[in-house]
């Protein structure tokens, strides 16, 4: 591809991103204004300050990426802007006490996203020291067994207070997600570099994959036993299975893995009260609608109440759902923005998945490909798990909706991972093959 073509492509991409960012800005600011009018009956500054900061952050990110990573995918930043801006409006609506904290996390997240996407560095360090990264992640996770707390005061102790500020908490499992993806990408990259399955025959070839499969399953079960973090355990295992399929191309592994997941679920059902509760509430919530199934039933009521066009921002009753700002942000969107809003969120994540996997398919190095695919699958699976939980397709797993739900660790790590995707998409090698079809 000639330099002129590349320049034209970059120019076209710039205008695409600008136009999409403008649309996201229009949507977020209109929603914030509507919320202000609905709650206060006037345009109040406290409802517009966070969106204004968001606008500044997105404008700056766009400018910096434009300057230093012009060949990036033009859809990723607008998707990030749309979902995170929507999330801010939603937190203002559902849990205004957390708005400023979330705005700060978004600021940090955007800074990290831009830094990861534009700084000149090499990913080799991630690939080479995979065991170090994984050990670090697991150590942090183990630390929660000793020092773990729950900021809400009750529930699983999955957070660590930061040393410099005991009032700020970090969830190590969020970091572990990325470290695990880096480890697996590196592991499969090494395997591919050393010849892959083509040169391995019989049991040895299978052991290369079955060994990690069982190991990973065991790790996730342990995670479930230790922390009772059903969401993280499911997410880790699903991401692993997807990468395993990418590396091995064997449906049988995928089937075996899903079988193991089902087995773990059955074991968990008979062993852990939290799993039993969630499965029972999912299978038939109606007899205990005001008791143990209250959360999922209220979530379904919220989805149903939204209709096609929604109750209007600030005019529904999503706060009947316990922990709505974290686990059930999607249900709140369905109630106040209706089917049109909730399907738009589904479409946004579908687009994110599509673009992420497109990047994975176009980068040259296997490590980069696995990394892009792993990150994308992590986003996609996490969004799928919570949206499927809210709509009663699956039992609830207690994960957040990336970029939308309240949660500092989640926002920070999701931004970092999106930064990596932007970095991978913006490298010259990818761009030259064209993201534009």
């Amino acid at each position: 591809m000639s330099l002129t073509s590349l320049t034209m492509l970059a120019e076209e991409r710039r205008w695409q991103e600008r136009a999409l960012l403008l649309l996201a800005a229009l949507f977020v600011l209109t929603s914030a204004l509507t919320l202000s009018l609905a709650l206060e009956g006037r345009i109040a500054g406290n409802h517009l300050a966070a969106p204004a900061i968001w606008l500044l952050l997105m404008g700056s990110a766009h400018g910096l990426l434009e300057r230093y990573r012009p060949q990036r995918d033009p859809l990723l930043l607008p998707l990030y802007a749309l979902l995170s801006g929507w999330g801010l409006v939603l937190i203002d609506r559902l849990a205004p006490n957390f708005l400023w904290r979330q705005t700060v996390w978004l600021g940090l997240g955007t800074a990290v996203l831009v830094a990861v996407a534009i700084l000149p560095y090499n990913l080799r360090v991630l690939r080479r020291y995979r065991y170090t990264w994984l050990t670090l992640g697991i150590l942090l996770l183990v630390a929660t067994l000793v020092f773990g707390v729950n900021p809400a005061g009750v529930g699983a102790a999955l957070w660590l207070p930061l040393p410099f500020s005991p009032r700020i908490f970090f969830q190590p499992s969020e970091l572990l997600k990325l470290l695990l993806i880096i480890f697996l990408a590196s592991y499969f990259d090494q395997y591919e570099r050393t010849g892959g399955l083509r040169e391995q025959k019989g049991l040895r070839a299978h052991l290369f994959f079955l060994g990690p499969l069982l190991l990973m399953w065991g790790f996730c079960v342990l995670l479930l036993v230790w922390q009772q973090d059903l969401g993280a355990a499911t997410l880790f295992f699903l991401s692993f299975l997807a990468l395993l399929y990418l590396a091995a191309g064997e449906w049988r592994y995928l089937a075996a893995g899903l079988g193991l997941l089902l087995l773990a679920a059955v074991l968990g059902y008979f062993t852990f009260a939290v799993v039993e509760l969630r499965v029972d509430a999912w299978w038939n919530p109606w007899p205990d609608a005001t008791g143990r199934a209250f959360q999922i039933v209220q979530s379904l009521y919220a989805v149903a109440a939204g209709g096609i066009t929604g109750q209007g921002v600030g005019q529904g009753f999503p706060t009947y759902i316990p922990v709505v700002h974290s686990d059930f942000a999607f249900a709140a969107i369905a109630e106040e923005w209706g089917l049109s809003g909730s399907v738009a969120v589904v479409a946004a994540f579908a687009l994110l998945a599509h673009r992420g996997l497109r990047i994975a398919g176009r980068v040259r190095r296997p490590f980069h490909s696995y990394l892009a695919a792993g990150i994308t699958i992590l986003f996609a699976a996490q969004a799928f798990l919570i949206m499927a939980g809210v709509t009663k397709l699956l039992p609830l797993t207690g994960v957040t909706l990336p970029f939308v739900s309240y949660g500092g660790s989640s926002m920070l790590m999701s931004s970092l991972m999106l930064g990596l995707l932007l970095y991978l998409s913006g490298r010259q090698g990818v761009a030259s093959r064209g993201l534009r079809d």
Partner: protein
């Protein structure tokens, strides 16, 4: 190879998201209504709270009930205390009754227009109720409350000739403003203040039936009011008690004297010329065996009003009547024998806020020929310029008595009809005092 697998993963993820979109459509469109109507869905309550319920106005547009307060915490306010029996109540916890119940759909602003309902549903537009105008008059209503005082009973005032209900009072009553606080106590109260005695109180009519039976008998040429009656003051046995004329009639008493002195024996002699079915038809002709068509909780009439003919002729049989039924029958006599429909709601607003008159039902029908009705009225005493009839009716085997008062004002061309019933009344004058006092207020006397 890897790119093919990535494509497979991409398709798998997109299919997963498609499944979520389908699930969203299922819960929103397929199950939306069913979930919205589930009794444990708090949004039902919230939606109900958001409806700005319409006002209930009196005939001069004075407010009888209105919704006030902020949108998320509205309050139904009744400016006239103790108006509960006349307009009913609306509370979030205990539901609706009376006019509030009968015209609930209008007051809520429910629409029969399919398109309007569709847009409102899908745009989640706020539902605003429509106003209704009653035939009540606040001044008369307050007067009725005042004259009834602490006496246990009911008062119904009709404006003639249309038989529009001008006042309706029941005591003991309740303040609908305090229903949430007082409901349990009201339910437990032995005096049954939640019972609307005007429309639900089923009272033994006793000789209060006398004007109607005599008018019907005269209308059927079974008697002439001027003809003499033998043994007018002869005692009769009612529930083992001996009863005779309230005041002694003259020696050569006529039917007019029978009427004016509340004599029971001559009434029983009508059994010789009337069958059970014919007497039942007379009761039906005056609307005493049907529920008045008003938006109030009304008592169910007995299935078989005449069991013992002689007892029925002195109002001590199976037939019990409400003051509202009695007022309607009384209005029939005043209207030349035409039984009018009762009317409590005169107009309702349509969706555009324009008032639409309400046509009362059923159509007026002749209860008795006009000359017979006029003759009976002419036979009644005319103190203070009113036509009136009063009697004490045995209210059961224990000898309790209810005082009935039926009054018309002015005596010449009646414009107001009053019916009063007082429970456990000792003498005629109590009900008479209440009725006359109210007539005095409404006719400006």
């Amino acid at each position: 190879m890897r790119r093919t697998r990535i494509s497979h993963l991409s398709i798998g993820l997109l299919l997963g998201y498609l499944l979520i979109a389908v699930a969203l459509v299922y819960w929103t469109v397929g199950r939306g209504t069913a979930l919205a109507e589930r009794p444990d869905n708090p949004r039902r309550v919230e939606d109900e709270l958001r409806i700005r319920r319409g006002q209930i106005l009196d005939r001069n547009n004075a407010v009888l009930a209105e919704t006030m307060g902020p949108v998320d915490d509205p309050e139904r306010v009744y400016p006239v205390p103790n108006i509960g029996p006349a307009v009913g109540y609306y509370t979030f916890r205990y539901g609706t009754s009376g006019v509030e119940e009968g015209y609930d759909a209008v007051l809520r602003g429910d629409s029969d227009d399919v398109w309007e309902a569709f847009w409102r549903e899908n745009l989640h537009a706020a539902q605003t109720g429509r106003d209704i105008r009653l035939t009540l008059n606040v001044t008369w209503q307050r007067a009725a409350e005042a004259v009834l005082g602490d006496s246990q009973g009911a008062v119904v005032l009709l404006a003639l000739p249309d038989a529009t209900i001008g006042a309706l009072s029941s005591h003991p009553g309740y303040d609908p403003n305090r229903l949430d606080e007082d409901f349990e106590a009201l339910v437990a109260d032995e005096q049954a203040p939640l019972l609307n005695r005007a429309s639900q109180g089923q009272y033994q009519p006793g000789l209060a039936l006398q004007p109607f039976v005599l008018a019907a008998a005269a209308g059927q040429n079974l008697l002439a009011l001027e003809e003499t009656v033998a043994d007018a003051n002869r005692p009769v046995q009612v529930h083992g008690l001996e009863r005779q004329c309230a005041t002694a009639p003259p020696q050569e008493a006529t039917w007019v004297d029978v009427l004016q002195n509340n004599c029971p024996y001559p009434m029983q002699t009508l059994a010789r010329s009337l069958s059970e079915a014919e007497l039942a038809a007379i009761f039906a002709g005056f609307g005493l065996t049907e529920q008045p068509q008003v938006p109030l909780t009304v008592a169910s009439p007995p299935a078989e009003p005449v069991v013992d003919l002689e007892a029925a002729l002195v109002g001590q049989d199976a037939l019990t009547v409400t003051p509202l039924q009695m007022a309607r029958a009384w209005a029939a006599l005043a209207n030349g024998g035409m039984l009018p429909p009762l009317q409590l709601v005169s107009a309702v607003q349509d969706g555009s806020g324009v008032w639409q008159a309400v046509t009362p039902e059923p159509e007026p029908v002749a209860a008795v020929p006009a000359p017979a009705a006029e003759a009976v009225l002419a036979a009644l005493p005319r103190p203070e310029g009113y036509r009136e009839y009063a009697t004490l009716a045995l209210a059961g085997p224990e000898g309790n008595r209810n005082g009935w008062y039926l009054g018309l004002a002015p005596a010449g061309e009646p414009r107001y009809a009053v019916v009063v019933v007082l429970e456990n009344s000792e003498n005629l004058f109590e009900a008479q005092r209440v009725g006359r006092a109210l007539l005095r207020v409404v006719s400006g006397g």
